[in-house]
């Protein structure tokens, strides 16, 4: 805090300001190093020769470049099966979530009706219930419906946390589209549906893409339900990674290679949408 005081002094002369700027930059670089280190170390371990990974005095810098850890990771256990299942589940959840969510978002953002506020409060409140608390009854419910150990059961379950979030973010995007545009189209002879399809939908598309991608990431990353509702033979990618060990114990270098394979596409997707999503997220988000 004392550092901030010197930086914001009203009567700062040039050289002093420059010096404090350098100090801030140094601090910023420190934050960068600390925040980025786990990611760096994951990549570093994944690409270094496996024997260097179990060096008791490890070098902080890369010691070589090899892909052998990746091929080892793919060999230890079936990788593509879990990834395929994760893909099916996440894509299905997003497809259903966006369609159903869009309809609901339209209802609460473009219509006035009795009970609207209650619906909004309800959707917000549902988001706030910790998923972990619901695992027991959901498990029993799916057991009763004969949906245990089926991907369809997991898809329905994921909709509970994808839907409220989708509705809420899409609502945010819709509210930002001026009503006048729609009304102008209707004055010009469009039906209400026509006005939506021709005017609102194209404007909404980027928001829908961002919401879908974010929902996809959430579904892809979910762990507890995937662990509880599917047996070993049907496991998804997150469970695959958490079970990563062999009869010789945990092999960390291939494990980091597996982690890299799981994280890279997701982080890349995330980079694409985070700017748009940071906004919608504050209004009640689902991370974690």
């Amino acid at each position: 805090m004392s550092a901030i005081a010197s930086g914001a002094d009203p009567a700062t002369d040039r050289p002093r300001r420059r010096r404090s700027k350098a100090g801030w930059n140094l601090l910023g670089l420190f934050v960068f190093a600390v925040a980025g280190f786990p990611v760096y170390w994951m990549l570093n371990t994944a690409f270094k020769p496996a024997k260097d990974a179990i060096d008791p005095d490890p070098s902080l810098l890369p010691t070589g470049l090899t892909l052998s850890n990746f091929s080892r990771a793919l060999h230890i256990a079936d990788f593509w099966g879990p990834v395929g299942r994760s893909l099916i589940v996440s894509l299905a959840v997003v497809a259903i979530g966006v369609v159903v969510g869009l309809l609901a978002a339209l209802a609460i953002s473009r219509f006035a009706f009795r009970g609207r506020k209650i619906v909004i409060v309800g959707i917000l409140a549902v988001q706030m219930i910790p998923l972990v608390a619901m695992i027991i009854p959901v498990f029993l419910l799916l057991n009763d419906l004969d949906q245990y150990d089926k991907l369809s059961g997991l898809i329905i379950t994921y909709l509970t946390f994808i839907l409220p979030f989708t509705v809420w973010t899409l609502r945010g995007f819709i509210v930002n589209i001026p009503k006048e545009l729609e009304e102008a189209a209707m004055v010009d002879g469009c039906s209400r549906t026509g006005a939506f399809v021709r005017v609102v939908f194209p404007l909404l598309a980027p928001g829908m893409v961002a919401t879908s991608v974010y929902g996809f990431i959430q579904a892809w990353n979910e762990y507890l339900y995937a662990l509880m509702l599917l047996s070993q033979k049907n496991q998804t990618a997150t469970v695959w990674l958490s079970n990563f060990s062999t009869k010789h114990g945990t092999e960390y270098a291939p494990m980091m290679a597996g982690a890299t394979m799981m994280a890279l596409p997701i982080v890349a997707l995330f980079l694409l949408v985070q700017r748009k999503m940071a906004a919608g997220l504050t209004a009640g988000a689902v991370k974690g």
């Binding site: 960068f32 609901a104 409060v121 706030m128 839907l163 409220p164 997150t238 494990m255 940071a278 906004a279």
Partner: protein
């Protein structure tokens, strides 16, 4: 939500107060209703699929959670050999009368409070720092933050497990290079508090980026003239922050804090995976404790009772969150 509104808008407004649209919305709706397009059935038809799904997978389990917590429900009830019978408050009496339960509650609250406080303070400091650094440093920090934020929780957990590995972990090796420190072979998970501190670090690492990014968006809305004026009136850096920046950011901070409390009270995979699926007694938080009671001990009734207590504990926080949403006019 003000931050939401401005970041989605093309041009961020200079003022923090939420733009008028929410207020204008009901008025604009009036003439439309008069036009008689759909009446009240259309919105309900549009809502129907969503409400149906939520009722099935959220509403029903929620009710079931409550009824379960009043029943004796074990293996034999699960397989249908015996009907579930009501035990009144038996499960709650059993849970609340257990000394271990209160230890778990205390541990969970300390853990979550630690995570939330450190996350918020660190997030605020980094957001303020980002205002003062050069552009390229800001970009670097943002990249690191977003990478951490986007990292799947399970991946982050396995990476931290590796960083803190007792034999080959980089942390022990690096710390031991410092003079007077010998951590070679140190097992961070031998004791509960130390292990939970590592898990706390993991949670904070994943949570700070969201806070920084949201607060940074909020900070851009603090009018420079206001800060200038406060400075001319003789306020120091702390005074400007305390009396200008903080009040303006308050709605965002309340929102972030309540969300963080909810997320951090619900921490599960981090503990579960760090402890290889069997958290020791010293590592149990309410979430893992409830899971353990249901799926390891096979007492689904008591497990539900614990989960219900967790939800009730959180209701207060949820209430604060909802009030804030109503106050800033997001839910009009």
């Amino acid at each position: 939500m003000s931050a939401a509104d401005t970041t989605t808008a093309e041009v961020p407004p200079t003022r923090q107060s939420p733009p008028p649209p929410p207020a204008g919305e009901p008025d604009a709706r009036r003439p439309r209703g008069g036009r008689g397009s759909g009446g009240t059935t259309t919105p309900w038809l549009l809502l129907a699929p969503c409400l149906l799904v939520l009722a099935l997978v959220m509403g029903y389990p929620l009710v079931r959670l409550v009824t379960l917590s009043f029943q004796k429900f074990g293996q034999s009830q699960l397989w249908g050999f015996q009907p579930a019978e009501s035990v009144g408050f038996g499960n709650f009496a059993g849970v609340l009368g257990d000394g271990e339960f209160w230890q778990v509650v205390l541990r969970t609250i300390v853990f979550a409070a630690g995570c939330v406080i450190v996350t918020m303070v660190l997030g605020m400091l980094i957001a303020l720092l980002l205002q003062r650094v050069s552009g390229w440093v800001k970009t670097l920090v943002n990249i690191a933050l977003v990478a951490g934020w986007g990292m799947p929780v399970i991946v982050a957990t396995t990476v931290f497990k590796w960083l803190f590995d007792s034999d080959y972990g980089i942390l022990n090796a690096v710390l031991s290079r410092l003079p007077g420190v010998d951590l070679i072979g140190h097992n961070w998970f031998a004791s509960g508090p130390q292990g939970l501190a590592v898990i706390m670090l993991l949670v904070i690492w994943g949570a700070v980026p969201f806070v920084v990014i949201t607060l940074s968006a909020g900070l851009t809305q603090v009018p420079a003239e206001l800060e200038e004026a406060a400075r001319l009136d003789g306020a120091g850096a702390w005074g400007v922050f305390r009396y200008v920046t903080l009040p303006i950011l308050k709605p965002v901070i309340v929102m972030l804090t309540t969300l963080s409390v909810i997320w951090d009270m619900g921490v599960f995979p981090q503990v579960f995976v760090m402890r290889n699926g069997h958290p020791e007694a010293e590592f149990q938080l309410l979430t893992t404790y409830s899971y353990d009671r249901a799926f390891v001990v096979n007492d689904y009734g008591q497990g539900s009772a614990i989960a219900l207590v967790t939800v009730v504990l959180l209701l207060g926080v949820v209430a604060v969150y909802m009030r804030q949403m109503l106050k800033i006019g997001e839910v009009e």
